[in-house]
């Protein structure tokens, strides 16, 4: 590294505060070499940070995009509620809501780092089976057990 501008010296000073106090100062060339090495290390570290950061940004965007996409899926599924024809078909949309909303909640929990949403998803998953049993037993009874 060659010192060409004032800015370079300022950068060297900043790095020096970080960790080359112990570097031998009696040999100017060695100090410069040491500083350059540290600068390179810092550069690669910040580069790693940058890639890590941008990776998580891509994933964040993907989480939200996928959550929105699944919400649109739910919205499309409502067509089946309107058009039936049997009440079982309408119940199937409820099942779609159960599965998809669990996925949406898990995605949002990961994207916003709110762990409580995973518990909400857990409750949804638990209740999904109960709704089907309740529907078949109470709302859609067979021939023999008509109310």
């Amino acid at each position: 590294m060659a010192i060409t501008t004032e800015a370079d010296i300022v950068v060297m000073g900043t790095v020096g505060l970080g960790g080359i106090q112990d570097a031998p100062v009696d040999n100017a060339a060695e100090t410069l070499f040491e500083t350059g090495r540290l600068l390179r290390a810092r550069d690669s570290a910040s580069w790693l940070c940058l890639t890590d950061y941008s990776g998580s940004v891509i994933l964040q965007t993907l989480y939200f995009t996928l959550a929105l996409f699944l919400l649109l899926n739910l919205f499309a599924g409502m067509w089946r509620i309107l058009h039936g024809p049997t009440s079982a078909d309408r119940m199937l949309t409820a099942q779609l809501f159960g599965t998809t909303s669990v996925a949406v909640l898990l995605l949002l929990a990961q994207a916003t780092e709110k762990d409580a949403l995973r518990d909400v998803a857990l409750v949804f998953a638990l209740l999904a089976a109960v709704t089907a049993v309740a529907f078949v037993r109470r709302a859609w009874p067979g021939q023999g057990e008509k109310k």
């Binding site: 890639t51 890590d52 941008s54 990776g55 998580s56 891509i58 994933l59 993907l62 989480y63 996928l66 996409f69 699944l70 899926n73 499309a76 599924g77 067509w79 089946r80 049997t86 079982a88 078909d89 119940m91 199937l92 949309t93 099942q95 779609l96 159960g98 599965t99 998809t100 669990v102 996925a103 898990l106 995605l107 990961q110 762990d115 995973r118 998803a121 857990l122 998953a125 638990l126 999904a128 089976a129 089907a132 049993v133 529907f135 078949v136 859609w140 067979g142 021939q143």
Partner: protein, 99 residues
């Protein structure tokens, strides 16, 4: 973007595709049995892929366990929904679709 990030992105997108397939099946298939087939299989696979994709990203093993537990519960729900509704529909005389 680390390989793990890439893997989970691929899994998440694949999961989204399966969810889309499930919704299309619900909307397009001709009777309740075929719609059951689309929903209880495609959606559960989609959720499984999303869960695996997220499990790669979470910090603790406990969280991974919770995600897998959620998936297993949804699988059980899907299996019972498919069985119960198909059985009751047959009982009530909903005729399976024949071309």
């Amino acid at each position: 973007m680390t390989p793990a990030d890439f893997l989970s992105a691929v899994l998440l997108i694949l999961g989204g595709v399966f969810f889309l397939a499930g919704t299309l099946g619900l909307l397009r298939f001709p009777d309740v049995y075929t719609r059951l087939h689309a929903l209880t299989k495609a959606d559960n696979v989609g959720l499984g892929l999303v869960v695996i994709g997220l499990a790669i990203q979470v910090e603790t093993w406990a969280m991974v366990g919770k995600l897998l537990l959620i998936w297993v519960l949804v699988l059980i729900a899907g299996a019972s929904v498919g069985y119960l509704i198909a059985k009751r529909a047959l009982q009530r005389g909903v005729r399976p679709w024949k071309r």
